[in-house]
Symmetry: C2
Subunit: 161 residues, 2 copies
Amino acid sequence: MSDTPQAVSGFIERMGLAAQSDGMPRIAGRILGYFIIHDGPASLAGLARELQVSRASVSTNARILRNLGVLEATAVPGDRQDYYQLAQRHYLRLLEGYVERMGTMSASLEQAERELPADWAGAQTRLADMHHFIDTARDTIRELIERLAERSDGVSHEQKP
Amino acid sequence: MSDTPQAVSGFIERMGLAAQSDGMPRIAGRILGYFIIHDGPASLAGLARELQVSRASVSTNARILRNLGVLEATAVPGDRQDYYQLAQRHYLRLLEGYVERMGTMSASLEQAERELPADWAGAQTRLADMHHFIDTARDTIRELIERLAERSDGVSHEQKP
DNA sequence: CCGATCGTTCAATCAATACTGAACGAAACG
DNA sequence: CGTTTCGTTCAGTATTGATTGAACGATCGG
């Protein structure tokens, strides 16, 4: 961290803030920022050192990112530490998170439409309206994911070939 | 609140939670939920009573929603209270919020590309890759907004004609 | 086997922020 | 005018959740 240019630490910190405003822990965002800048696998201990946070935080947050599919575990021969690296198309995973949340929203609207009296015309109209909106939005984003996924199918994203 | 069916309070509460996981105050979500279910303008005092929260909270959160364009102020003749009602196409405003956040993200990536040494091939590749992704995602959502906006252009969303 | 190193977990601390109650200024109404 | 009823603001409280340090079990190297 001591000899990293200002641009790097600035970007990493900015990713932390962006993560926060997305409802994620700041450290998760900083870890992601680290991997965007730096090549190859990194160990938990290395991340803790570079980002100046506790091993515990790195452990939990790296796990969060792995569960999201943003990071993936890998191994370095001759080293028993756990190594992580950026998954290919990692950004698509974040969109998938949006899609999932929209799914919950859609379900919630559906439930309300079902449970509310059918003669509450205004409520039913607004619910159906919003429901339609959410569903088209979700479909659009799903489409976008597919489009972007196949775009990078032929392209290599390997970090250490 | 005492004679509202379980379905209503359940939905409102669920909207509160959804708002929270979107980085918004819970009460803002509940207010939105209230307006989805109930017709017409409502006063701040009425909202405070219905949602069982302080006038202060209603005031600040209604303002938040108004600034987002989700609610709009209106007036009831002969009543000097401030009344609010749901804006037409209120859900589009939330998408616009996403677009805006993606804009900051895009700018941040751009700045990093500019400030980092050009010979950090890996970093530059990943930054450009992600940058392209964010921009197409943003364009897609913008397109979606336009499409949905014109869809409801001919439809009336007035609540009290 | 023994010591060292690793990742994880859990209780405790810390920070951020939502929410409230009280105080205030403005506007309506008599 | 004086009173009442608004909406807003602000200091204080409470709650949520992130971060940490210490303790633990597991695994490797010797």
